[in-house]
Symmetry: C2
Subunit: 131 residues, 2 copies
Amino acid sequence: MDKAIEIWGGKSYFKVETVKDGKSVVDLWREKGGLVIHLTMYGMHICKRIDEISKIEKPMLVIVGSEKVDGWYYHNVDYNLAVGNQPHSEIAALALFLDRLYKGRELYNTFEDSRLKIIPQEVGKKVVKNG
Amino acid sequence: MDKAIEIWGGKSYFKVETVKDGKSVVDLWREKGGLVIHLTMYGMHICKRIDEISKIEKPMLVIVGSEKVDGWYYHNVDYNLAVGNQPHSEIAALALFLDRLYKGRELYNTFEDSRLKIIPQEVGKKVVKNG
């Protein structure tokens, strides 16, 4: 992660932190007025809630779990949201959720602090220094 | 995978196979008239090609690589396609590509041979027998 950020930028966007108690992160986030969304195949379909969620102007915490998520989370978040009510990859769910939220704009993201920049090619790779 | 299919269905949709030589799979696919798409951050931006690709009525093989993909693939596929020209998860790239291709319809997929079915809930889990 650190190496990727050094090369491709995003120092002010990404931060990795390990916490022991995920629940207190959720509680604190909501106490401070933030919105918490839990992505789970058991939740309400994303297509039915994404317009509503898009309009909420609060800092957003998105939770993706592994195979078994503690029931506590279902009851202590603002939305349990299903990116399809079928089993799926959590990474895929997060990607689709963000894509719907950002309306595809995230695919054009670039970071000013990147050292390298890709020039899209039909075939092969073209990478240049940024700036 | 097998267990997930048994519970959630899709026997006629999904098949997992391990092959030693990925290149021959690509060659054979194209020989038989199929389309081959390689998802790579070095390729052309998905938004510039997805309409064109959506119109092609050929069986589609989608390739996602790991950190280092053999240069051969770049030269022997029909499209090198970037789901954003930034480093990203291959799973996320595949999810977004399929979402654009299917125009979101995939999120409503259900399988007739599933044993269980999820009833979407605001809070908690509701699963019923299918059929």
